[in-house]
């Protein structure tokens, strides 16, 4: 109980932040996006951290979620909350379908396969115009503000919903990490054959991790759709903007730990925003270019400890935060 206190304090403080920020302002939007990406990275962390499989295709599920809830809303007037659940189901299903052929693949090959899946979803979305509106994207229709309709006048509720989502996804991550599934995943990561021999159903456990991760990210796609109000295939199925970004956030923050994605998001997203501000106004692509250069530099500087670049910093901070 005593260790939970600092954690609870942080959550409460973060919940108070939106009240301090200008409700129509720029920074509350950044906060919302940061919280959202932290949640997404945490969901990725289940596969990338606990199951140790570097997936570069999670945008597939994110986009599925965003499109499912929005299309259901547009075509049938279904509330985004229900749409979110439907998106979660579809996302989990997609994860299942993708996990089966990719399960036996290692490292690079796995990353390649998942990247390809994400790309294919993007192409399908761009081309299946009757369902998705094609490259012109979809707009979430305006609905009179109400909680039930997931429609709000200000950004604050979106920030709070994102915070709640982050807390829930983190709780799920921790439950997995500490529970039987966590032990099994750690065993598989270290020696899959030995794990099998002592009774770990490696296929089933990996599938479970994949499905949970995919379903969660899909649901976060709905959150994004409701905040962004407009999106297109190239945004929600983006390799660089979604798949790579959430993997990097988790990795730089500390893959396999609960605090990692959170710290990573709060470091990277605001940094990106600042860089965008400073540089992109000069020229399109400049901030991304700088980001790429920074990424390469970081890896070269600490190739073995790419994962622990901010590890010591994180460790010092997280001694107060993580259990």
């Amino acid at each position: 109980m005593k260790r939970c206190l600092p954690l609870a304090a942080v959550i409460v403080l973060t919940a108070l932040l939106p009240l301090l920020l200008d409700p129509r302002g720029y920074w509350i939007r950044v906060l919302t996006i940061t919280l959202l990406f932290a949640a997404m990275a945490q969901a990725w962390n289940i596969v990338g951290g606990l199951a140790n499989q570097t997936s570069l295709g999670h945008a597939a599920f994110f986009g599925i979620g965003a499109y499912t809830s929005t299309v259901l809303l547009l075509k049938f007037g279904i509330s985004p909350w229900l749409g979110m659940v439907a998106g979660g189901v579809l996302g989990g299903l997609a994860a299942f379908v993708i996990a089966i052929p990719t399960m036996r693949l290692q490292g690079h090959y796995f990353a390649l396969a998942t990247l390809a899946f994400g790309e294919v979803m993007r192409v399908i979305a761009n081309v299946w115009t009757s369902l998705t509106g094609g490259p012109s994207g979809l707009s979430v229709p305006f609905v009179p503000p109400s909680f039930a309709a997931y429609s709000f006048k200000l950004l604050r509720p979106h920030a709070w919903i994102a915070l709640v989502a982050l807390v829930i996804v983190t709780a799920i991550f921790e439950a997995i990490r500490r529970g039987a599934m966590g032990y099994r995943l750690r065993a598989i990561k270290q020696n899959a054959a030995a794990a099998e021999v002592i009774g770990v159903d490696t296929t089933r456990v990996k599938l479970q991790a994949a499905v949970i991760s995919g379903a969660l990210i899909a649901m976060l796609g709905t959150l994004y759709a409701q905040v962004a109000v407009f999106f297109d295939p190239d945004t929600v199925f983006s390799i660089a903007g979604i798949s790579i970004r959430i993997a990097l956030i988790a990795i730089i923050g500390g893959v396999g730990t609960a605090a990692g994605p959170i710290l990573g998001a709060f470091f990277i997203i605001p940094l990106e925003e600042i860089m965008n501000d400073l540089l992109s106004s000069r020229a399109a692509g400049l901030s991304q270019l700088v980001f790429g250069i920074i990424l390469i530099s970081v890896i070269l500087w600490q190739p073995r400890g790419f994962i622990t670049v901010f590890g010591s910093l994180r460790a010092r901070l997280s001694r107060t935060v993580s259990p």
Binding site: A180, N191, A193, A195, E196, I198, G199, V200
Partner: protein
Amino acid sequence: MTILDVRAVSRRFGGLQALSEVMFSVSRGEIVGVIGPNGAGKTTLFSTLVGLIRPDSGTVTLDGRDLAGLKPHRVASLGMTKTFQNVALFAESSVLDNVLTAGLLHHGVDAARGEALNCLDRVGLRGVAHKQAGNLSFPERARVELARALCTAPKVLLLDEVMAALNHAEMAEIMQLIRSLRDDGVTLLVVEHHMRAIMNVCDRILVLNFGRLLADGTPEQVARDPLVIEAYLGRSREAARR
């Protein structure tokens, strides 16, 4: 009462016939030794029994249940598991976590922890429960692996050279442990190179060479079998005669 029945199991890897028509049965509560020169197919046999390798032909039956096509985790849940020759621990996890994971086969996390501690007690390693598995000495790791296999509550336990790199005292302890496991109702198959240990503790011995079963009998019978002597035990006698 037959608990394990192996019929005409064969397995080829490319040009090498690793196992050839291997046939034997094991009764409940037996301690069966498996010996043979390096490369004879002993580890391949164990891997086939637990399902890591699929035989090209033949059947393996555990307690009346045909194990064809079953993955190792299924075989483990049916009651058979093995240890690895070069020890395959989860090096970054703690000793306790290694054993606990095996306990998850039949228990929830908390109960599995209790079981794991019991198994560690059994092999005398409770004191290092919280050490990182990769930091232990080789004999200690072999014992952790034994504890881990035990934690799956097996009916049939396959031990692959658990006594490698042990001194006499340690070997005696393991042999005692093996006997006590049998007293608890576990059937054991033991691959070993230490002849005296094998002859001492086993009820029966299987001799493999080039994937074939050369002999199947009591230690005395096997020691006198001319085929076995020629292939394995008696090369020095051959040399002495010349």
